[in-house]
């Protein structure tokens, strides 16, 4: 049952809040009790393989579809459409009128979000110039390349200067140069205090950009918090090469340690690096190299979401990040 809460019952300083969102379709439960808190002015990543429920969650947050149960509050409104003028949304599948020219396409999207048409046109011209598409302003969108059309749509998402930007798989289909431009744009908007939510199945983007992430797998939130918190779920990894193949030093290694091509890989013991180092030296290991690596988001993702989700992510075409 969908409950409607008054804006007063929602948390201050949180741009987007979802409580136990559920979405059922005839054949399956697409989203199963998703709860999120997106702090105002943060870059928030929704991470998960295709089919995990990211897009459905975003659509519920934006009011495009109604949840089967649960609540959400977007910029202080329990009906997201009421905050539409302050939201910019770039859907996963880009949608533009091909017969419109780039300038009118951007201005139209601004007008939809409450911008006066003449102001929207002026801003469209400015945005197109700034992004190197000035000479394409009067060209029909159908004549633009895919990358250009995606840029036009992105500019249409930003033209009304929203306070919340929701980007569904924004890096999909962009070349490395444009991915870099988009990352810079996301950072600059966030620096202006704009809240940004984006979904991605490419961990590298989330790792570089996000302060907070939610890992979604099979419609459920497997993790919701800061990126360093996700990483902290795992112990640092030790990579060790020794001159001696065997000896008393072997008893120092944890039982889960594995040898890959002469290199020992294991989690750093809770006692820390110094006791480990001392025991290895005392045990006559003959240390050749020893590296302590902080686990990346990918390892954290595998640990949190499971191997199956990680494999699903790995099998998807991954964009080359900047």
């Amino acid at each position: 049952m969908l409950r409607q809460a008054s804006p007063q019952s929602w948390t201050d300083g949180i741009a987007v809040e979802a409580k136990e969102l559920v979405k059922d379709f005839a054949e399956k439960r697409a989203v199963d009790g998703v709860s999120l808190d997106v702090p105002t002015g943060s870059i928030f990543g929704l991470l998960g393989p295709n089919g995990a429920g990211k897009t459905t969650t975003l659509r519920m947050l934006l009011g495009i579809i109604e949840p089967s149960s649960g609540e959400r509050c977007v910029l202080g409104h329990t009906r997201p459409i009421e905050a539409a003028h302050r939201i910019g949304y770039l859907p996963e599948e880009r949608g533009l009128y091909p017969s419109m020219n780039a300038r009118e396409g951007i201005a139209f999207m601004g007008a939809l979000r409450g911008l006066n048409l003449s102001v929207a046109r002026r801003r469209a011209d400015q945005l197109l110039e700034e992004n190197g598409l000035g000479e394409w302003a009067k060209k029909p969108i159908r004549t633009l390349s895919k990358g250009m059309a995606q840029t036009v749509q992105l500019l249409g998402t930003l033209v009304h200067e929203p306070r919340l930007i929701v980007l569904d798989e924004p890096f999909s289909g962009l070349d490395p140069m444009n991915q870099g431009k988009l990352e810079r744009l996301i950072r600059s908007r966030a620096a202006d205090g704009v809240t940004i939510i984006f979904s991605t199945h490419v961990i590298a983007h989330a790792e570089r950009l996000c302060e907070q992430i939610a890992i979604i797998a099979a419609g459920k939130v497997a993790f919701n918090g800061r990126v360093d918190e996700a990483r902290a779920k795992l112990r640092p990894i030790v990579r060790l090469r020794t001159r001696e193949r065997d000896g008393p030093w072997r008893s120092v290694l944890p039982p889960s340690a594995r040898n890959e091509g002469g290199e020992w890989i294991f989690e750093l013991p809770k006692t820390g690096p110094e006791p480990l180092l001392k025991a290895l030296i005392d045990g006559g290991a003959g240390i050749e190299t020893l590296a302590i690596e902080r686990p990346g988001l990918h390892e954290a993702f595998v640990a949190i979401a499971g191997d199956a989700a990680a494999r699903a992510m790995a099998t998807e075409p991954e964009e080359i990040a900047q």
């Binding site: 379709f25 697409a30 393989p49 990211k54 659509r59 579809i65 539409a84």
Partner: protein, 413 residues
């Protein structure tokens, strides 16, 4: 409400511009002129043929008798029309007893029969029977010619005066003709133009713009905007056609419409109401068509829907037509209350009854139904079409695939 109307205006402006400024709109404007052009071209070619195709009767008679017969024929033609009358052509009498046979046998001009014996002792010879139309017409012509000769019953003086009938009396008079004409024109225009709304959301669904729209504005605004845009485009078309029609009448038939009985409510108000009721009829049917068409995912599905939708319109028109000639009958009132037939009934009423107040009530009533239809259509659209979910699978499609999810939503995660 303000935001709903603002957003609807933004969408209407885009759709109207995209429609009216396209090349296909020019074709749309020219569409109604194609049949007229066909009639002009082929009509011109067929007119002399049809005159010559009518049976011709050779008249073996003196010039005096033939002239009287010709005058009688012309008089009858004024009443029955040129196409209904047989042709006659004089053949000078030679006095030979076999003349009729020879005339019939001649290849040109090819008589169907020959009348001999003049007006005094007429006798028809040819491939016609006594009960044939040709024989009956010649009897009538001869009788008319004889009456002219004797001076009795030559012309009938019949002054015609036009007056409004008693409200309780069945009106099968002149104003019913105007009422029927107005109703038929309204139906024809709605039939031609409202069907376009079936395909109005196909573009947004195919190019994925629908998700951008649905995230930015209420679905009600999308529907209202599209409806208003197409109504305005249709009114532009009607204005162009009306202007061309008026110019053509002014140029070729300056008194062309003067013979039309004036509607009870007067021409200016009747025309104004015609525009209003066209708009209401368009909005009423259009809101339903938009809702139905929104579920179609391809042009093929829209085409499949067109026929039943057209048939439904014909049924509505048939229902509304009961009001003509009996504007105060229970049937007429019932048809005026039923929202879909209401505009047709009310325009017919304007032709026959001069009261204005019922029109005000009817417009408000119809407007409420437009709002209701739009609301229901947008609700259904949001619930059944604008949804995310897994891709439809082969063999599991619902009939016509109408209630399957949007392409934009299918690929989402």
């Amino acid at each position: 409400m303000k935001e709903l109307l603002r957003a609807a205006f933004v969408i209407a402006r885009r759709d109207f511009s995209a429609t009216v400024l396209s090349r296909t709109f020019l074709l749309f404007l020219l569409g109604p002129f194609f049949p007229i052009l066909m009639v002009a071209v082929f009509g011109a070619a067929t007119t002399p043929m049809s005159a010559s195709d009518r049976p011709t009767v050779g008249i073996i008679a003196s010039s005096k008798d033939y002239q009287q017969l010709q005058i009688a024929r012309d008089r009858l033609q004024d009443t029955f029309g040129a196409l209904a009358m047989v042709n006659i052509q004089q053949v000078n009498p030679t006095g030979r007893p076999q003349q009729s046979g020879q005339v019939l046998a001649s290849a040109r001009p090819g008589y169907v029969a020959v009348l001999e014996g003049g007006l005094a002792n007429p006798r028809l010879v040819g491939s016609v029977t006594a009960q044939s139309g040709t024989a009956k017409q010649l009897r009538l012509m001869i009788a008319e010619a004889r009456r002219a000769t004797t001076g009795t019953g030559d012309e009938v003086n019949l002054p015609v005066m036009l007056a409004s009938p008693s409200p309780s009396a069945p009106n099968s008079g002149a104003q019913a003709l105007t009422a029927r004409g107005g109703q038929s024109l309204l139906f024809l225009l709605t039939l031609l133009l409202a069907g376009m709304l079936l395909s109005q959301l196909i573009e947004e669904k195919s190019n994925k713009v629908i998700e951008v729209l649905a995230a930015a504005v209420p679905i009600d605004s999308i529907f209202l905007g599209k409806l208003l845009a197409m109504l305005c485009a249709s009114l532009v078309g009607i204005a162009v056609w009306a202007a061309v029609g008026a110019a053509a009448i002014a140029a070729f038939a300056p008194t062309g419409l003067s013979g039309l009985p004036p509607p009870a409510i007067g021409w200016p108000v009747f025309i104004l109401l015609g525009v209003v009721y066209f708009a209401m009829s368009y909005l009423l049917l259009g809101s339903i068509f938009l809702g139905i068409g929104a579920h179609a995912s391809s042009a093929r599905e829209v085409q499949t829907l067109s026929m039943p939708v057209t048939m439904a319109q014909v049924v509505i028109f048939a229902f509304a037509s009961v009001a003509v000639g009996a504007p105060h009958s229970n049937k007429a009132i019932g048809a005026a209350i039923f929202p879909l037939s209401s505009p047709y009934v009310m325009i017919a009423r304007a032709g026959e009854v001069s009261d204005l107040m019922p029109h005000l009530v009817a417009v408000v009533w119809q407007f409420l139904w437009v709002a209701l239809f739009l609301r229901v259509a947008s609700r259904i659209f949001r619930k059944s079409v604008l949804k995310s979910g897994p891709a439809k699978r082969a063999g599991r499609r619902r009939p016509f695939g109408l209630l399957t999810s949007l392409g934009v939503a299918r690929s989402g995660s």
